[in-house]
Each structure stands twice: as structure tokens, then as C-alpha cells.
Symmetry: C2
Subunit: 551 residues, 2 copies
């Protein structure tokens, strides 16, 4: 039982303003958290109780599922990361200088630790499948930490890793694991608004990863849900078609190249200058694929290019934007004047289908100082054999596979399932002999749950009217007892003990100084979001249990 | 229930050799731990259970005592450490380079985080005393990590911090806390051999710290116990007198200065060269006190100088050995020829009482290439006003306060209590108004328990005959069920479930391949040190509960 008369972590009268989420501000006001530095928090007593409860729910389901909990360290040897080319490959990984000019990794993820560990114990195909997990502190060297909950430099995560003989064996396993995740998010009270969302699987697999995205007003990811199939896509991979198709002009005008002196950045300036409607302008960006192919990619003005989709369209292992110098050298013009006409022959041109049927449109001329208007396919440019889909999907777009208009919502990722194929088992040489004595590389998957973020997501999800309404099973306490008048303290303590015997956790508000009247106490009880509030006072002594239930 | 047929962390046939402790080798053989890098371990499933049980015992007692659990981060801002001059002052602290040329601390301790945290919540003397604690991962940039359990680069610790109005208030608190620690070590089964030991309190207080030292054959600290008072001292502060006093020669000889060409390092070479007995040689070391005083300190050949004791004797805030150049400049001789005669006047000479009554003894001459023998106080040197005690105590020494010969034993520190006075509250400006409206700096103490080390200490403590005999309450499991013959598995599973319903944890050895006979299974059960072993086989079906208890 926590007696507030002695409890150090007091609430504050008003909520401090913090950026973009209600819950962080409430958590600060309630004294549940304090920021130690940007992106790094201290958890006080009651918030730690929430962490432990969430942890235990995650643990229970993982254990029931047959995964084995372990605890890997936060430090790791550099050599492990060099084996997988990730020492310099993970931009958010902290490199820790140590004695004797050594460097250690301060782990942002644990593939490089768990793979050599499990190699020791996986000796035969009979040892597969096997899944280990941990709930542990992770670190990320974030350039900009957000004051809310998304970009942390230190946070708790549940990370699981499973090992399989082949993809077939994995398929069954995966269905189970999806079920486990659903059970976890269900027990945490957020399943109703949590969506399994397809996302990018990375460069070493054709498979998608699966994200568990909880619908919330303010967070980072955009989810595109097909209202018919219920399949959800993360914006980063959502296939898309323009909601309202381009209508061809009846008359194809003659192309005009127009010189102008000022730099033009915004489409509005362009519209004014060239006297053409916005939707008839295009934007072109240049990329280098696999450090050898020069790519021009063009979309309609109101779209952005989705590099993840584009990489797949151009069938490259690696894709990056061309530098200003590279564009100048290849196209012979400043990056600001580069468009889709007058391109050198060895530049591969890819057109997004947002440009399909566009007539009399604008592009840059690839000539310093020049725009072209009234450009037309089949006239100023060859009629393209194919249009592609590499635009960043946006609200109003259609799922090209079903023709349905997407439902789009903001969400926060609380978990994910990721195909690792043999990306880590190969460098660490994790192989087994199968039943036919044939040597096989072991297949690996990983499964994350963002435990710290879950706490914030749950807090935010259950925040209404400036109050966090915790679900009973993860609330910092179940009962808040308001005691009025000193002579009732002993009685209240006995009631608290009785409640504790029935596995309840109790906060006893026994603060008796003048300023702590009923209204102050009930305000704190509600700010802390305790599910049940009862009062013990002179008036309640003749009531059934000696107290009055007010919530 | 853990079913060994599917459990990945298998035991090994033989124990790998590791340095100096039995338990690490057994833990590796049992598959409970793996080294991720020197001084950094991964805990597999069963070892993690031990950690959690120890953690929970520590937590229970701390909570009962009225301390509030919190969770502080591993990262901290550099500014906090600069405020207390410890950014460069803690040689084992990792400095973590981050984005924007920032550096973070990777905490080896948390005073710099907890003090500003609590400053926010300590507003009045009524908020005192208050104690917060955490059980959390700590990091140390150790030059040499040991393969065993002492010098880790990453480890779990319980660290508590209490805040007080004054030392008087603290005294009561401290007696409680000592009791809590005793209760914890008692519940962990090591209290009988755990000794409260006085140790150095650091440079900012006259008080001693208190260490909880568990007597073990192989560990790092030497404890000096007075058999009469039962007071224990860490070697680093143990007051001491030579066990066998020097006997004066009847004839005081004339001093001789002897030239020799070779460098002499070992006392044996000196004995041979000068033809004098070892116990008539002395050793002198030069120190700089507070960067201004030049100190010569001399002890009998068979002692070392204890710098902690010497610092107090010379009454300095800070003490360091003089460099070769400093000695050369001050004394005019190489460091190897520096002794206690012919010292310049501004060198302060301190003599340890191991030199008392020594006659006709040897010292270096402070003249390149020369020793002096037959040196005598009152003849070649002024009769000293006082001898001091700054030798490093050793076996055979006497406690000067009681005249009792110390009992000396090796031990491993499992906990400590440390006076911090106002060392941290002053720089962070933690003050309160007392009852008389007088502003006071808050007094602070800290209390550590080395949780990871405790696991090893307990394992080592209970290891006998190549087996770890876990006490029931911290064993990786309570029951180990050996199943013989496939047809008994279901029965054994039911028995396991019944045991689990009574809060037992069960390992079910259902491995049925040929090599897993009774003797293999029982060997694993004993290697894992499970307190109860039962067998379920065809033979046991008519026994009372359907099983046979064999341990």
C-alpha cells in the first residue's frame, strides 16, 4: 500500500505543456515520469508498476506460446557487428569507446548477439523450431528525440527471435505468433484499434514485415486500410492509384520552352509564372541504383516519390538520391532545372502512373533556366510502354488491386514481425543437417514489441477529458482510498489491507494537512486514473463495508 | 513447466575451465550463462529465473522498509556529471559519443541522476527522510574484466538513495537499513557468513562506509576481524600493529654507506649483497599531498604502504605517488636510491610503527648508487616524535585498539552503505527549510547491493562436490521430474501441473532418445542443482502419488 502522506512523487496543480501528446503532459503532472534528458525518462514508482504489469502480460503470453525468456546484455563486441556489415550500417547505433582503444556496441537490437548464442545450441534439425525472447533496455542514437513517445534514445523492448528449418515450417509458427500478439494487445485493451499492417521487409527479402499499428490521433505512421479486404498497408509500401484520374485535353498543344531568371521552388509560383494549373505540373528526381545505374523518376506535382516502392520498381538492391554534382555531370544542368525531356540516353526514365493520361503538362527542360509547358507523351516524349506505381500513397488514393478507396488513419507502431531469412544465420554460419543429412542454413525471424511505447500508447489511448482512464489490469493501482479526518486513518488502513489480501493494489490518501480536502484528493485520484475510488470518513462508518464507493 | 525435450539450453558433458572460480565453470556447463564478451554475460532462461527471484527478495524487503522503487535510465547528460566534477573523476565511467558532438554518460552509478530528480520532490523538511531505489543495469569501463564475477563491464545492481534533514535523523534510519540488509542476506541463505565490514568512506567524509562481505575462498577483499569485538575491517582501512614486535640489538653499530653498481629490486638480492637480515631493511615511497607537500613514507620491508591510511595520517585531501622526475628534482637521486636519510628539510618524513625499535637497519642513502646499513634512530636520524600506522594490514597483525590478533579471511562484497554527506546535494542545491525556517543542505546516503554478483556468490557459496546446491527459494526450479519410458510422459505432466498449482516451478525431463537414460538425467538434475528430484516410471505407478522422491 502506498500512503500518500509519505509518498515523494507528488502531483502538480497544472499540466506542463509538451509538444504533441496529451498523455506525456498528464504523466508529468501526475509525477509518474520525469525527463532525464531529451528522449530519456526516469520512471517513478507508480509508472514502474505499469511497466511491470505490461511486461508481465507480454511475458505470460510469450511463455505460454513456448518461447524461452533470456536476458542479453546491452553491450556487445564490435566484431559481431562487423560480421554482418552493420557496425557502420545502423545509423542510430551508439559506438562506445572503451579501454585499450576498443569499441563496443550499445545495442539498438540484438540479432548480432542472439545468433551466435543460439548457434551453440542449435545442433540438429530436431532443435528447430526454437524461439527465445527478452524484455530489455535498448538504445538509439537519435538525432532528434521527441518529447513525447516516438523517438527515444533509451527504451524497453520485447524482442523475440525464432529459428526454423525452412519457410514452410515457419508459416505455421507465424500464424501462432500473430495469435499471441493479438492476445497480448487484447489483454492490454487496445486490440480493437490495433491493425496488422504490411510494411517493408528490408532489402534482403521479398517478404513484407508485419506491423501492429494502434490507431491514435497523433502519431507517426499513416495506415492505408482497404475497406473491402481489410488489408492494411503502411504508407511506406501502400500500392496506390490516383483517386481522380487525369482527363485528357482534347487538343494537344505545341511544346513551349520558357526561360525565366528566378529559382522556383513552390508549385504555386510555377502556376503563376507559367499560367498553367497545378495538376499539370510534374516533378522529377534523380537516383543512383546500385551505384551504377542513373535513374530519373517522375510523379505528378501533388505526389512524393516513395523510395521503397521505387527501389522495387527499378529492381535494385540499393537506391539513393543523386547528388547535385552527379546530376550536373550527367544531365548538364542544375538540379533545379532537371526534368524528363532532353535526357541523355543512358538515363533510365521511370514514370509514375499519376502521370498517365496527363496532357499539355509541365516539366523542367534539362537546360539551365528553362521550363517546358504543353508537353505531351507520344509527341514531345515517346509514348511510355509502361507506367509504374512508386508514388507515396496519400489520402484519397485507391488500392489498385481492388479498386477500393483507402481508409487512411494515423497510428503508432506497438509491435512488428520481421523476416530475417538468412541475413544473420549465414554470416554466423548457423546450419543444421536436415532429415536427409543435407546441410541447410537456418531461417530466422524476429518479433518486436515496443514496451515503453506501449505504456505511452495505452496512456494516450485511454486519455479522455484530461484524465487517463487506466484499464484495471495495468493501472498503477486498483483502489484509491480517500480518508477524511485523522480518526479514520486506522479504519482506512484496515480496509486497504483487506483489499490487498484480494490481490488489489491500493493507494491510501492519508494526507491530512489543511489543503488536502476532499476535492484535492479526488482530483489526484482521477489524474492518476485509478479505476476504483472509495471514501472512508465519519459519514461512511455505518455503511456496509465502512466505506463509500464513488467510482 | 520447462520440458527438456524442447528446451534449447542444454547442459554439456564436461565443465569448461575458467580462471579462478568453480561456479562460473559449472554455470557454463549447465548452460545457464554464456559470455558475450569479457565481463559481459548473457543469462539463459534458468539463470534469469534465479536473477528474478533474488531481485524479488531484495525488492520485498526494500518495499517493506518503506523505500520507493523507481527506474532511472542508463544514459545521462554530461552536464550533470560536470556539476559534481565526476565526468573525468570516475575512471570506469563510459563516455558515449552521440549526435551533434554531444556526449552522454553510460551510468556506472546514479547519484548525478537521482539527486536532481529528488530535488524536485523534496520541498520541505516534512518530506524527509525519504528513500528511493532501483534495480537496474550498470556499466563500468573496466580495463581488465575477470572471467569470474568480480570485474564486470555490465551488471545488475540495487542502488538506493536516502535523504535526511541531518545526521541525527539518519542514525535511526541507518540502523533500520542495516536490519533490512541482514534480512535480505538471511533470506538469501548467506547471512551466517556475511560480515558488516568497515571500509573507506571516501575523501569527503570522516565516516567509514559499511560493506557486507561474504566469506568465500576465492574473492577479492581481505577482511580483518577482531575476535573480541567482532568488528570487521576491510584491509584498505584496517588499523594494524606488527604481530611480532622488533627487538632492539644490544649494540648500535656505526652507519656504513655502501656503493653498488647493479639495480636492486628484490629484498632477497639486498640481503645477499649487504649481508643483513631481511627484517632489518626498510622501504620508502614518496608522495605529493594536495599537490604541494612532499612526503616521504617508510615501512618495514615486509609491509606495503596503505595510501588510504596514509592520506589520513598526513591529513591531506588528496594524495598521489611522486613521479620519477619529481623525486629526482627534490631529492637529487634516482627513485631507486631514495631513502629516509639525507632528506631535504622541506620533505615531511612519516615513519610507520613497523619501524619502531628497529636497530641497525638498512635504508637507501638518497645518493646515486648508495645504500646505508646499520642505520639507527637517535644516532643517524633524529629520534622520531611519533610513529604512525599506515601499513597495509596483513595476516598475523594485531588490532592496535584491542591488542587482539586479527582473524583474516577472503570475502566478496555483496552490498554496501555509503555516506555521501552533502557531496551531491550541494552541487545540485537540494536544501530545505527546517522547523525553525533555517535553510539546510540535505544529507544523503546510498546503499548498494550487487545483484549480479550476488547470484555468483550464492552459486559459489552453495557449490559442493562440483554441484550447486541451490536453496529452495532461489533455485532455477523446485522440482526436477525424471520420466522414464514414453508411456509415462502424460502422467508426469499431470504431476508437474499439480506441483505447479502449489507454486512450485518444475523442470520435466521428458527427453526420450536413447542416450537419455536415468543416469544422464540425474546427472543433469544435480548439475542444475534442483532441490527436489522425483522419478516417474513404470515402477512408480503404484506408489502413493505415482512417483518416487529421490532427493
Amino acid at each position: 500500500m502506498i500512503k500518500l502522506s509519505k509518498f515523494p512523487f507528488k502531483t502538480e496543480k497544472t499540466a506542463p505543456k509538451v509538444s504533441d501528446n496529451k498523455s506525456t503532459s498528464l504523466l508529468l503532472q501526475a509525477g509518474l515520469i520525469r525527463q532525464t534528458m531529451a528522449g530519456v525518462y526516469t520512471y517513478t514508482t507508480l509508472w514502474l508498476k505499469v511497466l511491470r504489469k505490461i511486461e508481465n502480460i507480454v511475458r505470460k503470453h510469450m511463455d505460454n506460446y513456448g518461447a524461452y525468456e533470456i536476458l542479453m546484455p546491452a553491450l556487445s563486441p564490435k566484431e559481431n557487428w562487423e560480421k554482418t556489415w552493420r557496425w557502420d550500417g545502423i545509423d542510430v547505433m551508439f559506438h562506445l569507446p572503451a579501454s585499450w582503444n576498443k569499441e563496443y556496441g550499445l545495442n539498438s537490437t540484438h540479432e548480432e548477439i542472439v545468433t551466435p548464442l543460439m548457434k551453440e545450441f542449435i545442433q540438429s534439425y530436431k532443435d528447430l523450431p526454437v524461439c527465445v525472447y527478452q524484455i530489455q533496455d535498448k538504445f538509439r542514437n537519435e538525432k532528434r528525440a521527441k518529447s513525447g513517445l516516438l523517438r527515444w534514445r533509451e527504451f524497453w523492448m520485447k524482442d523475440a527471435y525464432s529459428f526454423h528449418l525452412d519457410n514452410e515450417e515457419f508459416e505455421n509458427y507465424y500464424e501462432w505468433m500473430k495469435k499471441v500478439y493479438m492476445d497480448i494487445f487484447n489483454e492490454l485493451g487496445i486490440w480493437k484499434d490495433t491493425y496488422i499492417t504490411l510494411a517493408d521487409g528490408g532489402t534482403f527479402t521479398d517478404k513484407n514485415s508485419h506491423e501492429f499499428q494502434t490507431k491514435l490521433e497523433i502519431w507517426e505512421d499513416l495506415v492505408f486500410k482497404d475497406p473491402k479486404t481489410w488489408i492494411c498497408y503502411n504508407q511506406e509500401i501502400a500500392p496506390s492509384k490516383v483517386g481522380k484520374a487525369n482527363v485528357k485535353d482534347e487538343i494537344l498543344k505545341d511544346r513551349e520552352d520558357i526561360k525565366h531568371s528566378e529559382d522556383i521552388i513552390w508549385v504555386e509560383a510555377l502556376e503563376k509564372l507559367l499560367n498553367i494549373p497545378k495538376y499539370k505540373t510534374s516533378k522529377t528526381i534523380f537516383f543512383i541504383a546500385d551505384e551504377k545505374r542513373f535513374i530519373a523518376a517522375s510523379v505528378r506535382w501533388d505526389y512524393e516519390i516513395n523510395e521503397i516502392k521505387l527501389r522495387k520498381v527499378v529492381n535494385a538492391k540499393q537506391l539513393r538520391m543523386a547528388t547535385e554534382e552527379e546530376v550536373k555531370e550527367k544531365i548538364g544542368t542544375k538540379i533545379g532545372f532537371a526534368g524528363i525531356i532532353n535526357l541523355p540516353e543512358d538515363v533510365e526514365l521511370y514514370l509514375d502512373d499519376s502521370l498517365e493520361n496527363l496532357t499539355n503538362f509541365e516539366t523542367w527542360t534539362n537546360k539551365d533556366g528553362y521550363h517546358s509547358i504543353n508537353v505531351n507523351f507520344g509527341k514531345d516524349l515517346p509514348l511510355p510502354e509502361k507506367f509504374y506505381d512508386f508514388k507515396l500513397a496519400k489520402e484519397g488514393d485507391i488500392n489498385p488491386e481492388t479498386g477500393e478507396k483507402y481508409e487512411v488513419f494515423r497510428a503508432s507502431e506497438v509491435g512488428n514481425i520481421f523476416p530475417l531469412e538468412t541475413k544473420f544465420t549465414k554470416p554466423f554460419n548457423v546450419t543444421v543437417l536436415d532429415e536427409n543429412q543435407k546441410q541447410k542454413d537456418v531461417i530466422m525471424w524476429c518479433y518486436g514489441i515496443w514496451v515503453s511505447r506501449l505504456m505511452w500508447v495505452i496512456a494516450e489511448y485511454f486519455t479522455k477529458d484530461e484524465k487517463i482512464n487506466w484499464p484495471e489490469n495495468i493501472a498503477p493501482a486498483n483502489y484509491y482510498i480517500i480518508v477524511l479526518w485523522e480518526n479514520n486513518i486506522e479504519k482506512a488502513e484496515n480496509i486497504a489491507k483487506q483489499l490487498e489480501e484480494k490481490w488489489n493494489e491500493v493507494i491510501l490518501d492519508d494526507r491530512m494537512w489543511k489543503k488536502f480536502g476532499f476535492w484535492t484528493k479526488i482530483k489526484d485520484a482521477e489524474l492518476l486514473g485509478i479505476p476504483h475510488i472509495i471514501v472512508v470518513s465519519d459519514k461512511t462508518q455505518n455503511m456496509e463495508n465502512g466505506y463509500e464507493i464513488i467510482k
